[in-house]
Symmetry: C2
Amino acid sequence: MRAPDRPPIGEGVSLVAAIVVIFAIIDGALQVLLVHRSAAPERGRWALPGGRWDGTATLEQAATAKLVEETGAHDLYLEQLFTVSHLDATQPGVAVAYFALVEPARVCLRSSDEWVPAWHRVDALPELAFRNNALIAQAVARVRAKLDYTNIAYGLLPDAFTLRELQATYEAVLGTPLDRRNFRKRMLATGLIAATGEQRRDGAHRPALLYAFTTREPVFL
Amino acid sequence: MRAPDRPPIGEGVSLVAAIVVIFAIIDGALQVLLVHRSAAPERGRWALPGGRWDGTATLEQAATAKLVEETGAHDLYLEQLFTVSHLDATQPGVAVAYFALVEPARVCLRSSDEWVPAWHRVDALPELAFRNNALIAQAVARVRAKLDYTNIAYGLLPDAFTLRELQATYEAVLGTPLDRRNFRKRMLATGLIAATGEQRRDGAHRPALLYAFTTREPVFL
DNA sequence: TCAAAAGTGTTCTATCTACACCCATGT
DNA sequence: ACATGGGTGTAGATAGAACACTTTTGA
């Protein structure tokens, strides 16, 4: 939905776009990557990154490419979310939305003069282009739900992390504080994470044990 | 994906199809509505009903229209499932899959000489056209999961029903037997259903109380 | 009176919640 | 020595699972 130039539309065919809701935990809050539109339509508004699908690869590959283009990072968690039609309202089109989870340290944003990307807290979004607010809300709900019964948090964290960092990630996504002892118990009981044996010393206090996800592929409980 | 004739494809545009996984409980089993393809491609195979999206209405409206066309019934439960690309592999295209829940008594199937619809048990499907087996498996998983935390079973049942019928519906979808007493307790505790006050006498035994869903709109627990 | 399905409660187990103190380190 | 965050266990409440008898009706 980025490129606004209108090609001729054939009979019974439509524009197809892939858009990506990219999440990261930044400053202790769940944030989403948006691009500022300097061209019509919806000029001057923030929107989800995306682009036309050219049909030369699968939709998922197109979304992955978009994700790499925006973040410079590979092998990120990506999942299809929802498909909306008539996003633009001026031509028949569908947009297939995906959401992705990234660890901010691996991300290197790329600006162009056409659009400038920036992170925005999901709890304080402006009104976005193309009704993107609803899509983001849906993506947030999905991630929150999946934290409970999958290991997708691995997408938001580096290879090794402390239990405190894991908990902070959960709290940022869920938007609620969690009990430290119960959280540790529950997490270790799932078997999704295991201690690496390493420690991290970090200030004037006892060092924290480091943990890692036992697998960095999606696992359901 | 039904009509196989190829229109000219413009630049950067694609075919978009809406397809529907229509579920009903028939003969005590979860069944899905399939059409037999008498024309290429995938001639001779069973496939999910669907058709090209013409862009004149939303995708959801297109899926609803398809659903009415197939079943003759209105106001059915419909939910978007997944979008696949390259279904056909000969031209760029995406298919947006929906799933629907219908009460068999309200359905009146319509045959044409091009395709004949028929119900198939989901636990004994042949190999279908366009990799439809995977979509159906995904739809079944979704319905099973949602039985647990929503009232979507209303889509499979008439306005009034006995608790035994409700339980049979759950068992057919889940594929597992349930404890009768715990099931009744749990269902009534949700508040999703309420006794109508009517009874149904049905054979040489005590009549059953009739229940109805308190709301026939989607509700989450 | 009998067969057949409807209706109903309790016990046990597992899980979740709430909660407070000692430990290891750097300054 | 002290301030800082890391690490640990238990008791109570809640929810889920297992399980058997009485009731109402038609034949």
